[in-house]
Symmetry: C2
Subunit: 295 residues, 2 copies
């Protein structure tokens, strides 16, 4: 596998995030704005954004969807801000920097997170408009991103996760948590790239399946890394799952079993795209990356 | 002033909320869905929804904007759910019923609130589409609602409010809190009604000013009611502002002074609409209602 460098994509998304913050914050100052800006900058992998761009290109899109990709990153960043709060995972480090509430305070971090969902919705609506999509297509794009962000996606997963704390989940329950909490937004990233390129329904469906599969593989890899990697490598605190006795894939399947399950999901994701003639080198690389990454 | 009964409007909005919940929740069950459903039903004044409908009619709209009005109520309901949480105002009663977290638990209530912003965004996008608006108009509608919900509106006001707790605010600071926390969504309700009817820019501007003025008057009336009304009359706990030593209009201006300020704002709101030939009996009644109400 030849590694693909998404540096140019990540730089474009970083610029799109800068523009989005500057435009949408209407030039206002204050703690909540500083917290939003802080959470959207820094060294993320930008996996979700890169998936939007790669799916768009795989569906034949030739325009610039970095604004739409940035909207997805806003939702993701919001979930990290709230996950790190003292009342949730209580984490002080993220992406190698102090977390938002450590720098800007808990009230500002909480409010910033709350403000980032409307920010993402505005950004997605603007991006759809700039791409020249019609009212129905734009509405579908906003709906897709918001569904992944809401009770049927990220929030639903977070609640299941909270409900499951302190007891052992079955493999089935754990998969359900992760499919919602992590998988929904990764699946939506693929769907959004496809929708922006007006992909036909069967291709969109293959994109969704790919996204759902690598989303779950990503979370399994996360669970494995929490055990096998160091805090320095991760840029966030390692070993928290064991400390909090959280149900994880390695706990249920062993490290080797968890890795094998992730590998099978990657195969499944790639095979589905191949069936649609849409397994570009980028999407193949990204599927392998989510399980092979070191942080 | 002849009282106007918005019973038919409120019934239509209640039905729109039911449909929205049923459609957007994709038939899923669980605590967070129950909490969302609970928060969207019950006996609200539905002031914001009625403003959307009245502004739409005042601008000559003849269609049905109750779905759009329902989207605004979702944002408002979310703000109430979170305001009532133990970590915020810690209130056990709202609209004459136990609050969401009392019935469904704090975790579900928190998650429900988080899920209601994406729900509102989806609903607004769908409503714009159903009204036959084009991509730019739809995008403007989503953007309007989301701006009012975010850091430049409700959340920004909530943060200022939290920051101001425990110290005395000046009249200017207090007004800024309320213009964001309460005013932004009431202003947006008027703007959304206007946008849905494709109102020309000067009328939209008059709608906004009317919304901002009665929004502030509404909050002043709220402060006065917290002192003068009983818990039974309000359907929520009375006297909390004094208990929490919150800065309020009556504290700064006295009850009579606060009432006079609210009255002046109502005059200002009505005069602005009259200048545009848009002071319908409905909008005149609503402006007077926000200060004359008993709960």
């Amino acid at each position: 596998m030849i590694p693909i460098d998404f540096g140019a994509d990540r730089a474009r998304v970083a610029r799109a995030l800068e523009t989005l913050v500057t435009r949408c914050l209407d030039g206002r100052g204050g703690a909540v704005y500083d917290a939003i800006r802080y959470s959207l900058t820094g060294e993320g992998k930008r996996l979700r954004a890169v998936l939007v761009l790669s799916a768009y290109r795989a569906a034949g899109g030739t325009g610039d969807v970095s604004d739409l990709a940035a909207a997805v990153e806003v939702v993701h960043a919001y979930s990290l801000v709230h996950d790190d709060l003292p009342c949730m995972d209580d984490d002080a480090m993220r992406r190698g920097r102090p977390t938002v509430h450590v720098v800007h305070g808990v009230a500002a971090a909480t409010a910033a997170g709350m403000a980032m969902v409307p920010l993402a919705a505005r950004a997605a609506a603007d991006a759809a408009l700039a791409l020249g999509l019609d009212a129905e297509e734009s509405s579908t794009i906003v709906r897709e991103l918001m569904r992944a962000s809401g009770a049927g996606g990220m929030i639903g997963g977070q609640l299941l996760d909270l409900e499951g704390e302190g007891r052992s989940l079955s493999l089935e329950e754990l998969e359900r948590v992760h499919r919602l909490k992590t998988g929904a937004l990764i699946e939506a990233s693929m769907a959004l790239g496809g929708l922006a390129a007006r992909a036909p329904a069967p291709l969109l469906e293959a994109f969704r399946r790919y996204g759902a599969a690598i989303g779950l593989a990503f979370q399994i890899a996360d669970d494995v890394l929490d055990i096998t990697a160091t805090t320095d490598q991760l840029g966030k605190t390692a070993g928290k799952d064991v400390e909090y006795r959280k149900s994880t894939y390695p706990a249920l399947l062993g490290v080797a079993g968890a890795k094998a399950r992730a590998e099978a999901l990657v195969q499944e994701a790639c095979a589905g795209l191949q069936g649609q003639g849409a397994l570009t080198p980028e999407l193949e690389f990204l599927a392998r990356f989510v399980v092979a990454r070191r942080s």
